[in-house]
């Protein structure tokens, strides 16, 4: 099977221009996040990863869900999309399948991804769409002023749950691993270098890359604060030898967060083909669906009905 997507050298040749700089991604709009918001770090890491991969703004599709992170959609250059709450993944998948040459990065919060649009997360992982998904994980609904999400810890008084949530917290990493993902990484919004490294690997990954970025929400998240996260995150590289192909250990590292939180690329399976590669009718085609719009002769189809 041919891998139509993601050959950075081929892409630069295609664009025929100088390597992009950080300033190429600059947008005049001023950031509107709260002071200390984790989105600043993720915003910087995304731009840096793209620049380091020599991807120019016009060569990338950036898709945003609705939430605080979605306010990134007009704070950088790139072809951007800012859609409906919970629905970023199917739109992003649609863009990728139409033009597999273009790297597609989808962003969503923990509210959108584990409540409103959790079905899309399930099926995107299962489908193994060749896209990156960045989970902006701040443990609450920030933009609607601090309600509990499915990932908020129990016992935390939140807007609309003054006594803490009566539900149990959704074990997100266990859930994701149960879906047999092909790429799982975790980062922290305070560690930009590591996020850049993760994103570069995610963009070059064959299938669906699930990237969980733990981020501070200084206004509403009073449990997993920036300081708390700083104290608890540990680079997986410092936890002894870890083979990213070892799904069992990866899952254990991802799920077991009682003493420390392992970050970095936890799991990667490059053997499983992406959704696009699995499509039998596409396997012999060198073009992308965006190249193929024309009037088609249907005589042979019509004859079958005579």
């Amino acid at each position: 099977m041919t891998r139509i997507h993601l050959d950075p050298s081929a892409r630069s040749a295609f664009s025929g221009q100088a390597a992009p700089k950080m300033s190429d991604y600059h947008h005049d709009n001023k950031c509107t996040w709260c002071d200390g918001c984790g989105d600043y770090g993720i915003w910087t890491a995304v731009k840096r990863a793209l620049v380091e991969l020599k991807i120019a703004p016009h060569e990338v599709m950036l898709c945003y869900d609705v939430g605080c992170h979605g306010n990134m959609s007009d704070k950088l250059q790139g072809y951007r999309f800012h859609g409906l709450h919970g629905r970023v993944l199917p739109f992003a998948a649609g863009t990728k399948l139409a033009n597999p040459r273009m790297p597609v990065i989808a962003h969503g919060g923990d509210g959108a991804s584990f409540s409103e649009g959790v079905n899309h997360l399930v099926h995107s992982i299962r489908s193994n769409y060749p896209i990156v998904f960045i989970l902006h994980n701040n443990g609450n609904y920030g933009l609607t002023m601090g309600q509990a999400s499915a990932l908020t810890w129990q016992g935390q008084p939140m807007n609309t749950s003054p006594n803490g949530i009566p539900e149990r917290t959704l074990p997100s990493m266990d859930f994701v691993f149960s879906l047999e993902p092909t790429f799982v990484a975790r980062g922290f919004s305070g560690h930009i270098d590591q996020m850049v490294e993760i994103l570069k690997a995610a963009i070059n990954h064959r299938g669906f890359a699930f990237v969980d970025f733990l981020q501070a929400c200084p206004t509403y998240n009073h449990f997993a604060t920036h300081e708390w996260l700083l104290e608890h995150v540990v680079d997986v590289k410092t936890l002894g030898h870890h083979d990213v192909k070892d799904r069992k250990r990866a899952r254990h590292l991802a799920v077991e967060t009682s003493t420390h939180i392992a970050t970095g690329i936890l799991y990667q399976d490059e053997k499983t083909p992406s959704f696009y590669e699995q499509l039998v009718p596409r396997q012999k085609l060198k073009t992308a669906p965006v190249d193929e719009v024309q009037r088609y002769d249907v005589m042979e189809y019509m004859k079958e009905f005579v």
């Binding site: 664009s15 221009q17 947008h27 709009n29 703004p57 016009h58 060569e59 599709m61 898709c63 609705v66 306010n71 959609s73 007009d74 250059q77 790139g78 072809y79 951007r80 999309f81 800012h82 859609g83 409906l84 629905r87 199917p90 739109f91 992003a92 998948a93 649609g94 863009t95 990728k96 399948l97 139409a98 033009n99 040459r101 273009m102 079905n119 899309h120 399930v122 099926h123 696009y276 499509l279 039998v280 009718p281 596409r282 085609l285 992308a288 669906p289 965006v290 193929e292 719009v293 024309q294 009037r295 088609y296 002769d297 249907v298 005589m299 042979e300 189809y301 019509m302 009905f305 005579v306």
Partner: protein, 622 residues
């Protein structure tokens, strides 16, 4: 059983005077072979030179239930079914109980239920109407031949075929086409069954012959296909390269067809996790610059409406198929309705331009698809292509499509030229100052300044802008496209009876009756108009009635001027619609201030039948 309904329906049938129409209905449990017999007979008749119009009724289950396959045929063009049939085939006793009253005088009931006896009232009514009731011991016949039960289908088909006076050659060639891959033995059994069936006809139904009108060559090389097949071919022809769907009757046959052809078309096919996904994936693919489509029925469309609204503000071209069935809720899943016109026109929060198109038959189903994509891309809007179960599953006799008609218009404001792309500014994407409301569109990946396709209210380059001035300017920009589109859309078509048959005319006319409709009602309305052309028994007129039918293909934005002009000159206006409220009538009134005089509405899940519609017109003729 009361015999009153029979006398009543027989009387109404007699008033329906067209002589060269014949109907055959096959009934039975789902999975019993009803479709198999129906399909072979329909295809055979078409090949022998008849225009066939087929109609299926079935229930929302897989095995059992009561289903039927009806074929109406003529040597002239017919576009609908009658409620009454010449031949009724009953695989089981349910058909005998439920459908005996559907048979025309001197007709035939062919059944397979041993020792069947009608109750005294129907027995008497059937005798009075000179209807032949013939038991066919299919099981015994097959046992004698040592053939498996599946051969019952061809055996029964052969009897019907002989009753219709058709040659065995066509039937044998159809059998050959269908079973050649199954080997010599199967073919031999089929041929033998055909002979046995013919012998049965000669022996027991010697005097029962349904005389068909003279065959005409013009039908022989036509296609016999459903509206779903036609839409499927239409979207392939239109350059649609991705189809995303979620199963829901009656949109599923389109998904099945287009998915079944994927290895030939090379299209990307995705059966999504739900209709929201289907709508979003289609929208994402369209945003990137390919052509993509999704289709669903009312309930699924409800789920898609937030995405419809999103495409409104993104100014993202998109095409939605809306295959209607009766609601509310799950309603009547396998039946037909035109009840979702208001839904299509009004669905989704906020105000934004869209285009709603109504398919009326297999011709439209094909030719409107490239148009739907062109409109979506020219105006950067969503186009909703509404059809119904009747169109999606009815069987049409359709000449091969003219493949030279369709134009592929990617949009006059689409920028692809490298030089022009370089000159673009990000702020050109949603520039609110264009006269038409349509601004430049360029595709992600283009070597050009970038922009945000922004779901929040935004300014020229897609940056969020909540200022009053911007909100006003962008709303006016988007809504200006609706006015631009409305001015460019074709007016509704006026069909009138002429010496040469029913034709569309460009000029307005003074009419005795102006019929107004959309979608699948066109077929039965035109067939009824053929009736109005015939001399009417017991009704002396100095001149034939001047009847016109105003058919609305483009339903939103709605051009109501022609309706208003014609209504002002017509003696009577009659709205014909498959819904309770007369939704097109409401829209026409909203847009023109003119109400229709009379309404013929139907909302029982069934399409209009020609004889039924004719009878319902009678009170309006006075």
């Amino acid at each position: 059983m009361d015999s009153t309904p029979l006398t009543m329906t027989l009387r109404s049938h007699i008033l329906f005077s067209r002589m060269n129409r014949i109907s055959i209905k096959v009934t039975g449990a789902q999975g019993q072979g009803v479709n198999s017999v129906g399909e072979v007979v329909a295809k055979g008749l078409k090949r022998n030179g008849y225009c066939v119009f087929g109609y299926r009724e079935y229930m929302s289950l897989i095995k059992g239930g009561h289903s039927s396959y009806q074929i109406d045929l003529s040597n002239e063009e017919i576009r609908s079914n009658e409620t009454k049939v010449d031949v009724l085939v009953c695989f089981n006793h349910h058909g005998l109980e439920q459908n005996w009253n559907d048979v025309k005088p001197s007709g035939l009931i062919l059944h397979m239920t041993p020792q069947w006896k009608f109750a005294p009232a129907p027995e008497k009514a059937l005798r009075t109407a000179k209807i032949t009731v013939m038991y066919m011991p299919v099981e015994d016949m097959l046992k004698a031949l040592k053939f498996p039960p599946i051969m019952a289908n061809i055996l029964i088909t052969s009897v019907v075929w002989a009753v219709l006076g058709q040659d065995t050659g066509t039937l044998k060639s159809l059998v050959y086409d269908q079973f050649k891959h199954k080997g010599e033995k199967t073919l031999e059994r089929n041929y033998r069954s055909i002979e046995v069936g013919r012998r049965f006809k000669r022996q027991f139904l010697q005097k029962v012959n349904v005389a068909l009108p003279r065959a005409r060559a013009r039908w022989r090389n036509c296609m016999l296909l459903t509206g779903s097949h036609a839409i499927g071919m239409g979207i392939i022809h239109a350059g649609c390269r991705m189809y995303v769907g979620y199963p829901m009757t009656p949109s599923s046959p389109l998904l099945s067809y287009i998915a079944g052809e994927q290895n030939r078309t090379g299209m990307v096919i995705k059966q999504a996790e739900d209709e929201i996904t289907a709508a979003q994936m289609m929208s994402g693919a369209m945003h990137m610059g390919t052509r993509a489509m999704t289709a669903t029925s009312g309930g699924g469309f409800d789920l898609m409406t937030e995405t419809l609204s999103l495409n409104g503000i993104l100014e993202n071209p998109s095409v939605f198929g809306l295959a209607m069935r009766p609601g509310p809720a799950t309603g009547l899943p396998t039946w037909t309705a035109q009840g979702d016109l208001m839904l299509a026109v009004n669905a989704g929060h906020g105000e934004y331009p869209r285009c709603v198109i109504g398919v009326s038959d297999s011709h439209d189903a094909f030719h409107l698809m490239p148009i739907a994509f062109n409109l979506a891309e020219e105006y950067q809007i969503s186009v909703i292509v509404a059809y119904d179960k009747q169109i999606g599953e009815a069987i049409y006799t359709q000449p091969l499509y003219d493949q030279k008609i369709a134009k592929i218009n990617r949009g006059s404001q689409l920028v692809t030229d490298e030089g022009k792309l370089k000159k673009l500014r990000s702020t050109d994407r949603y520039d609110p100052n264009t006269k038409t409301g349509i601004s430049f569109r360029w595709l992600p990946g283009s070597h050009a300044p970038t922009y945000a396709a922004q779901g929040d209210e935004h300014n020229e380059d897609g940056s969020v802008d909540e200022s009053a001035a911007n909100a006003k300017a962008q709303m006016e920009k988007r809504m200006r496209k609706l006015a631009t589109l409305k001015a460019a859309l074709p007016e509704p078509e006026l069909y009138v009876s002429t010496e040469q048959g029913i034709r569309t005319v460009k000029n307005d006319q003074s009419l005795d009756i102006l019929i107004i409709g959309w979608g699948s009602t066109k077929g039965p309305v035109l067939d009824v108009m053929e009736e109005f052309r015939l001399p009417h028994r017991g009704r002396r007129r100095s001149r034939p009635l001047r009847v016109g039918y105003l058919h609305h293909t483009y339903l939103w934005p709605l051009r109501a001027e022609r309706f208003a002009r014609l209504a002002a000159r017509a003696k009577r206006t009659v709205l014909v619609e498959g819904n309770y409220q007369g939704q097109l009538g409401l829209l026409l009134r909203q847009e023109s201030g003119v109400a229709t005089d009379d309404q013929i509405l139907k909302y029982d899940g069934r399409p209009f039948f020609t004889d039924e519609l004719y009878a319902r017109f009678r009170p309006h003729l006075a």
